[in-house]
């Protein structure tokens, strides 16, 4: 009943609009308006264009300043200082260009709207003008390019030698991380070694793997370089940590890396934002299937001493899964017991 009422009123509204449209058309024919090159709507459109751009710009500036805290993410990494600065420089340049070109656009559109008495100026080209507006953007862009290049090279360059190396592993649909253990060296991996227990495919025929540990939560130290070694199990994922301004794809068959230095611990950020619930989040940012939108992983940033303490508390993967020892090559078993801490 209600549905049919809605449909009926819809039809009525369309019928009324159509009638109005027909009446308008007929009036135009009677008044012979169609014969002129332009009608009164020429000025209306020119005015609307000007009003829209001015109103739009006002809204743009208002929203951008009033909601600044909502759309900017607090920063917590060293290289992020540089990328953010580049971002805001670029913002300055582009907003200036945006505002100027739009003001010019509406000024010309409004000022030079059609008038019967007026004739357009025949102005087909002007080499000087064209050279100017080729060169000026080229110079501005060159500046942006070179500062961008320098920053990019620093960020993607090799990590410092003393960087903490942590493996991040993406799979449908979640993340895991692996730490090198006491020997400070991550063990190898092989996707053919993956099974129900060893779900990261850690290769325990590599001695370095024997003391690796796989924690529940990922921790990183503040103020010390962290190098992420990134892998994927099944399809492409992307390690995106918005607060660290860090992003790198996790690609099956091609390990990738990204290094950064965190500048604020989780606790410091909680205090700064006055939000005791705050956590740094690792976000999947490459479409990977059904639960792509839910691939969350918490990263805890600790003071360096807390971080070392946390690390010392972790137990090696092998110690947590002692049954897996039976799958190790027999000559490694003794070493494995020792390194993983199964036998003290």
């Amino acid at each position: 009943m209600f549905d049919s009422l809605i449909i009926l009123s819809g039809i009525l509204i369309i019928a009324i609009l159509f009638t109005l449209f027909r009446v308008g058309t007929l009036v135009n024919v009677v008044r012979n308006r169609d014969k002129k090159p332009v009608t009164g709507s020429n000025k209306v459109n020119a005015t609307l264009l000007a009003l829209f751009v001015i109103g739009g710009l006002a809204l743009f500036f208002y929203y951008s300043s009033a909601y600044y805290d909502e759309y900017t993410l607090p920063l917590a990494s060293e290289h992020g200082i540089h990328t953010d600065r580049l971002f805001w420089w670029t913002m300055g340049v582009t907003v200036a260009a945006f505002v100027i070109t739009h003001i010019v656009l509406i000024a010309f559109a409004y000022k030079y709207r059609y008038a019967e008495t007026q004739k357009a100026t025949f102005f087909p080209d002007n080499t000087k003008l064209e050279v100017i507006w080729t060169i000026i953007p080229a110079i501005v862009l060159a500046t942006l390019i070179f500062s961008g290049l320098a920053t990019w090279t620093d960020i993607t360059g090799p990590a410092p030698d003393d960087a903490e190396v942590i493996e991040v592993y993406g799979f449908q649909f979640g993340w895991k991380s692996r730490y090198p253990g006491n020997d400070g060296e991550l063990g190898g991996f092989d996707f053919r070694k993956i099974d129900a227990v060893n779900d990261m495919g850690i290769d325990f025929s590599d001695e370095a793997a024997l003391d690796d540990f796989v924690p529940i939560e990922m921790h990183v130290p503040k103020g010390k370089a962290v190098e992420l070694k990134i892998r994927a199990k099944d399809v492409i994922h992307s390690v995106f940590i918005p607060h660290f301004r860090a992003q790198m794809n996790a690609v099956p068959g091609m390990p990738t890396r990204f290094w950064f230095t965190a500048t604020k611990t989780t606790e410091e950020m909680r205090a700064e934002l006055d939000n005791p619930e705050f956590n740094y989040e690792l976000v999947c940012n490459k479409i990977c299937g059904k639960a792509h939108f839910a691939m969350r992983y918490v990263i805890v940033v600790d003071e360096p001493e807390d971080y070392e303490k946390w690390k010392a508390e972790q137990t090696a993967w092998l110690k947590n899964n002692p049954d897996y020892l039976s799958k190790l090559p027999s000559e490694l078993k003794e070493l494995a017991m020792l390194k993983s801490g199964i036998s003290e």
Binding site: V38, Y71, T101, K119, F122, W133, G148, N249
Partner: protein, 631 residues
């Protein structure tokens, strides 16, 4: 090889008057040869347009579905069950279906609407008319081009109704996701059909492109040198060359993907453990696919955009009653953009894991594109300066295009900078960027073209007032939809997310997302005004005069109505460039290309007076050729 008909046609041009009779014969085709398997470029152009409109409605409707999910995450969508069936689970969109929606929206809009619907329509329709040719170089290939496109559409359409859903790996269909049905159900039959459909589409594009290029090079009428071509033709010509060089690479990418999916090869697959087993594939690289895909994918942006810019150049010049400013600079900048478009593809892959040094090179090349793009913007603005502007709906849409081209182009400077892209990559900032600069700008070019050439296509005028309402709702609507997405992107919101509830960082902007969705619905609804205006005016619109916009180009001298052969008499001869608007000394504010300089002594520039003599020599030359043939 020339067909008998073509030879006849050529002779028809030489023997005055013969052609009209011949054209008359053509007109006796039955329904099938006139409307369906037509080889007339005008009908084929209309076929592309109508099909493009059909796909635009579907593509737009899909976007409304996922905007409902994003703007109103708690809404009960049970009412959509009659259409979507099992894709509605407990009153919600299925999560995989959401991904299928964004994938299909992207594929349809980029390829079917903005490539075929825009380039297909106007290249076909305008090239012969604006260069003074009877038809395309090969009418038959042209017909095939449409029907391959049609077949490709049928296959894609069928994929929408599969149990397992259409392809769902994003419009870029990166493997391994798109190669493994275990990873997402859309990568089963849906992806197979996607690949078949795209292969057919590539065939269509190539057939069309070869034709456009050949026609522009070979069939320009007497006097129409390249330096007198309208910018529309330049744009279509350059676009066709880009397509011809880049689409085959997409075909290669698709072919290798087909091999990986169906024949057990490992071009893109390596080290994968999925569905409880380690796959045997070793040594492939997902990055290889991305390189191949974006080798088309980036030029594709310009395949979509350049025709729109060409159309806009023509419309802005005509309606400003001024020559386009910097004709040569406009051509050079298009050539520069076309050239650069081939060597910037990897800026889509800064964080893909490829060598960072490669990233530096591609960043450098990418930002260079901003220079020719800037030149185009400044030239448009200067064309308006001291004009006598008529705001026809086509003109308004062209100005809208310039605005989108600026706002969307500027955000490209952020994304082309690899250091900034680390943060913005794959966020809503990217969505905002390309929807403005490529999506909306090209879409406005398409609409502007339809409003401008409708009188030529259908012999009647569209209703102006409906056009104005349509423009304002769409222009404001597009900004309200895409501008807010910049903020959401700067806040780090990732694209292709079904919902943002899982993350603490993405709890804000629910209200802004709702606003965007409402704006999207209104903008989409406004397009039905256009549809009404379009179809109503085909039958009931006011009869169009011969040259409704007082335009200089050749199509307005062609016969009204659909004469196969375009001009019932001789082909027109061209004497001047297409932008002699408001020439000093001239009584009228436009001088069509067919008017010789000898007839306009009052407005000729000094160097043009020199040409007057050449013109008369040419005429004598031409008549002697005719005599020789007759002998």
């Amino acid at each position: 090889m020339e067909t008998v008909e073509e030879i006849k046609r050529r002779e028809g041009e030489v023997h005055h008057g013969d052609y009209s009779e011949h054209a008359h014969d053509d007109h006796h085709g039955n329904f099938w040869t006139t409307y369906v398997f037509s080889q007339d470029h005008k009908m084929i152009g209309k076929q592309f347009l109508i099909t493009g409109i059909f796909w635009a409605i579907i593509g737009g409707a899909l976007s409304i579905l996922f905007r409902l999910q994003l703007g109103f995450p708690d809404m009960d969508l049970t009412w959509l069950q009659p259409i979507l069936g099992e894709w509605i689970v407990d009153g919600k969109l299925d999560q995989e279906f959401y991904l299928a929606l964004v994938t299909m929206h992207g594929t349809i809009m980029v390829f079917f609407v903005l490539t075929a619907g825009l380039s297909g329509t106007f290249s076909n329709y305008l090239i012969p008319l604006q260069i003074g040719a009877r038809d395309m170089a090969s009418g038959f290939m042209n017909m095939l081009s449409y029907w391959f496109f049609f077949a490709s559409g049928v296959v894609m359409f069928i994929s929408l109704f599969l149990d397992t859903g259409p392809a769902g790996g994003g419009w870029t269909v990166y493997p391994p996701l798109s190669a493994l049905p275990q990873a997402i159900s859309g990568s089963g039959m849906g992806m197979t059909l996607w690949l078949v459909s795209m292969s057919l589409f590539i065939v269509s594009s190539l057939l069309g492109g070869i034709n456009y290029i050949t026609t522009v090079i070979n069939l320009r009428t007497k006097g129409l040198s390249f330096s007198k071509l309208p910018l529309t033709i330049w744009a279509f010509f350059i676009t066709a060359i880009i397509g011809l060089l880049s689409f085959p690479v997409l075909f290669a990418a698709a072919l290798l993907l087909i091999f990986d999916r169906s024949f057990g090869t490992s071009f893109y697959l390596s080290d994968i453990y999925i569905g409880g087993e380690a796959l045997p594939n070793i040594g492939g690289s997902p990055i290889l696919y991305q390189h191949l895909f974006w080798f088309l994918g980036h030029p594709e942006v310009y395949i979509v955009l350049l025709p729109a810019l060409g159309i806009t150049s023509e419309i802005i010049s005509t309606n400003s009653r001024k020559p386009i400013f910097g004709y040569k600079a406009m051509i050079l900048s298009m050539v520069a953009i076309a050239f650069l478009s081939f060597i910037v593809w990897a800026h889509h892959m800064f964080v893909s894991g490829m060598n960072p040094f490669l990233g530096s090179i591609f960043m450098l090349l990418t930002l260079i594109i901003a220079v020719p793009s800037g030149v185009k913007v400044f030239n448009y603005l200067t064309t308006l300066w001291k004009g006598n502007i008529r705001f026809t709906p086509a003109m308004l849409f062209s100005i809208g295009l310039v605005s989108f081209f600026i706002s969307g182009g500027l955000t490209g400077i952020f994304l082309g900078n690899s250091a900034i892209d680390i943060t913005l990559h794959d966020t809503y900032f990217v969505v905002a960027h390309f929807h403005l600069v490529m999506g909306s700008a090209s879409f406005f070019g398409l609409l502007a073209g339809v409003y401008h050439w409708f009188p030529k296509m259908f012999g009647r005028m569209m209703d102006e007032r409906l056009g104005y309402v349509h423009f304002w709702l769409t222009f404001v609507g597009v900004y309200f939809v895409f501008f807010p997405l910049h903020y959401i992107g700067i806040a780090g919101f990732p694209r292709r997310y079904y919902s943002f509830t899982s993350f603490d960082a993405f709890q804000g902007f629910a209200d802004l997302n709702m606003f965007v969705s409402i704006a999207a619905i209104i903008t989409f609804a406004a397009q039905f005004l256009f549809l009404f205006n379009f179809f109503y005016s085909i039958y009931r619109g006011r009869k169009a005069p011969q040259n409704p916009w007082d335009s200089n180009t050749l199509e307005w001298t062609a016969d009204k109505g659909s004469v196969h052969g375009n001009w019932s008499g001789d082909l027109p001869t061209v004497y001047r460039w297409p932008y002699d608007y408001s020439k000093p000394g001239s009584e009228s504010d436009f001088i069509p290309q067919t008017v010789p300089y000898s007839e306009t002594p009052e407005s000729n520039l000094p160097e043009e007076n020199m040409l007057v003599k050449l013109e008369s020599e040419d005429k004598e030359g031409a008549s002697s050729v005719v005599n020789e043939t007759k002998v």
